[in-house]
């Protein structure tokens, strides 16, 4: 069946909507869980009831977010099976294993201990309650690890062997998948973004209390801890953001080039701090890529390769090939051009066709001869399999403006949060935070900003890797199922309504509880 691009577009739009909504709920769960566990540890150690009140209040905000967010990720798994069936089959057990482990963590560990954490106050011992809180928080972060293992594999498909008889990838090295550099950098960066979200939300709500001149002690204590937690998170975000960029350089050079709006690399490539992209620029014309730009000489080369004079390929370089680069194992290679990759992808696809055609041939000798020849072709060319579906060089370029500007939004907001948290820490130290009305304004404004920042990160990661569902192995067009696009649009609308309702419910209940505050809630 020939698959239309409108179906692919509808399916990817639906997936983007679901994933972005899902990510509205996840980061707060990841970070606030840990922060609450730290608060409760304080309570466990000193037995002071005010720590208990603090823990219980933030647990309530956690619970509201958890209840609205839990299971929204399941829909993504449904979408794999229905809209992306070729892809789901092709990934084989690579997805099944991490997602099954994720299911166990999410449903058993996280949900069970969450129930104890929320309902178990004064019903179980203090020690067991504390353990449950820590296990809920750790369980949430571990389940994120497994999801990100699956995502990391799509961006950097390691540890597998393709079986042409079944058209599935089979896992040959579980640990190289679980500990691939892509997974590790994704996990650490995403979790730290969750920590930052939690810190900002706690600071903002506490600042609102200070503005209303209520719950003073509670708020100042929450801000103090959240600020240190946030400073740790933003520092780690810079470190892991850097390791993410290094990994992207090795495994997804086209994504890096799109992040930078870089068309022609050089030895000592500058890093673009800010720029306005030239809409007329294409990979094959001589237009200047930027209408305006502020760049730092040689910095991109240093970020990407740890060497100020190294070469970083741009979009046109990647399409033309011929430059030297180091692969993921550090081996020096000459880059293939787009056309060479397409030719090798076509060879791999032809080899797969030969398998399909001759695997049941009754003539054993002929079958064995053709299949062994096909196997050689497939093994030699499989790493470019997906290029066999691409026609024009443009097909291999992601949306540059979306990737470029999203990356700048994330990094610039990262800069804003460093400043914000340092100022917060300083005002706390000087004990003048409550008097600074402007700071309270910025604290509240920071809540939407931190969510925009985290969403922008995912836009960079996912738009930047287009057209691939699995890097170099399977493009979008070859991944979708033969479902009708009207079906996809119907579910798109259902999701939009369902998720928006959930979001409104979460915000309404959360605002209500925040208004009541830690003193207004009756703790049974």
């Amino acid at each position: 069946m020939l698959l239309t691009s409108s179906l692919a577009d509808a399916s990817r739009l639906q997936f983007a909507l679901t994933a972005m909504y899902h990510w509205l709920f996840v980061p707060l769960t990841l970070g606030l869980g840990i922060l609450i566990a730290i608060f409760e540890t304080k309570y466990y150690r000193c037995g002071d009831e005010s720590w208990k009140k603090l823990t219980r209040f933030w647990s309530r905000i956690f619970a509201i977010n958890f209840a609205c967010g839990v299971a929204t990720g399941i829909i993504l798994e449904f979408e794999f099976g229905t809209n992306w069936s070729n892809y789901s089959w092709f990934v084989g057990d690579i997805f099944g294993a991490p997602l099954a482990i994720e299911g166990i963590f999410a449903f058993f560990l996280e949900s069970t201990f969450f129930a104890v954490m929320y309902f178990g106050w004064d019903k179980v011992s203090k020690g067991f309650h504390l353990l449950s809180t820590w296990l809920t928080a750790i369980g949430a972060n571990l389940s994120a690890y497994w999801i990100l293992t699956a995502n990391g594999w799509m961006q950097n498909p390691v540890g597998v062997e393709f079986n042409p008889l079944t058209a599935r990838n089979e896992m040959v090295d579980f640990w190289s998948i679980v500990f691939s550099p892509t997974t590790l950098s994704k996990f650490s960066h995403s979790v730290m973004s969750g920590f930052l979200v939690a810190a900002i939300v706690v600071i903002a709500i506490s600042c609102w209390y200070l503005k209303k001149q209520r719950n003073r002690e509670f708020s100042l204590r929450s801000i103090k801890y959240a600020t240190v937690f946030g400073l740790f998170a933003i520092f780690m975000l810079m470190v892991t953001g850097h390791t993410s960029a290094v990994t992207v350089t090795r495994t997804q050079p086209m994504k890096l080039a799109a992040m930078e709006g870089l068309y022609r690399g050089e030895n000592g490539t500058p890093f673009v701090g800010f720029a306005v992209l030239n809409p007329k620029k294409t990979y094959d014309n001589d237009e200047n890529p930027y209408l305006f730009n502020i760049s730092f000489p040689k910095v991109l080369s240093f970020i990407a390769n740890g060497d100020f004079n190294s070469f970083v390929p741009g979009i046109s370089d990647i399409i033309e090939g011929g430059y030297k680069y180091k692969d993921a194992n550090g081996e020096e290679k000459t880059a293939l051009s787009f056309q060479e990759k397409v030719d090798r992808g076509n060879m791999a696809r032809r080899a797969l066709s030969l398998y399909a055609q001759y695997k049941d041939d009754p003539d054993t000798a002929k079958r064995n001869q053709i299949l062994s020849q096909a196997k050689v072709y497939l093994d030699e060319n499989f790493e470019y399999f997906g290029y066999g579906y691409l026609k024009n060089p443009e097909d291999s370029i992601p949306n540059v403006p979306v990737t470029f500007y999203s990356f700048r939004i994330m990094v610039m907001l990262g800069g804003y949060f460093i400043l914000f948290l340092i100022v917060c820490w300083w005002l706390m130290k000087k004990k003048i935070l409550e008097k600074k009305k402007w700071f309270i304004f910025f604290a509240i404004l920071s809540v939407p900003l931190v969510y925009i920042c985290a969403e922008a990160g995912w836009v960079v990661a996912e738009v930047g890797r287009q057209p691939w569902t699995i890097q170099d192995l399977l493009p979008i067009g070859a991944s979708v199922s033969g479902v009708s696009s009207s079906n996809v649009w119907t579910t798109f609308i259902i999701f939009a309504v369902l998720f928006t309702t959930l979001l409104i419910a979460e915000l309404k209940i959360a605002f209500n509880q925040i208004k009541k505050g830690p003193d207004g809630i009756k703790w049974n």
Partner: protein, 52 residues
């Protein structure tokens, strides 16, 4: 209504929508119409090799 109860209600309604409506009427795995893995593989291989 007490918050705990509201949250349970949200979770239950959501799970009902996800599993009883979306799963049953809209999200039938495409390959579930085939009985065996061999048939599923054949279908996917056809999609992967026949595309232009």
């Amino acid at each position: 209504m007490e918050v705990g109860k509201t949250l349970w209600l949200i979770i239950l309604i959501k799970l009902a929508i996800i599993f009883l409506i979306l799963r049953v009427f809209f999200f039938r795995p495409e390959l579930s119409r085939y009985d065996t893995d061999a048939e599923k593989a054949e279908h996917v291989i056809e999609n992967l090799t026949k595309q232009p």
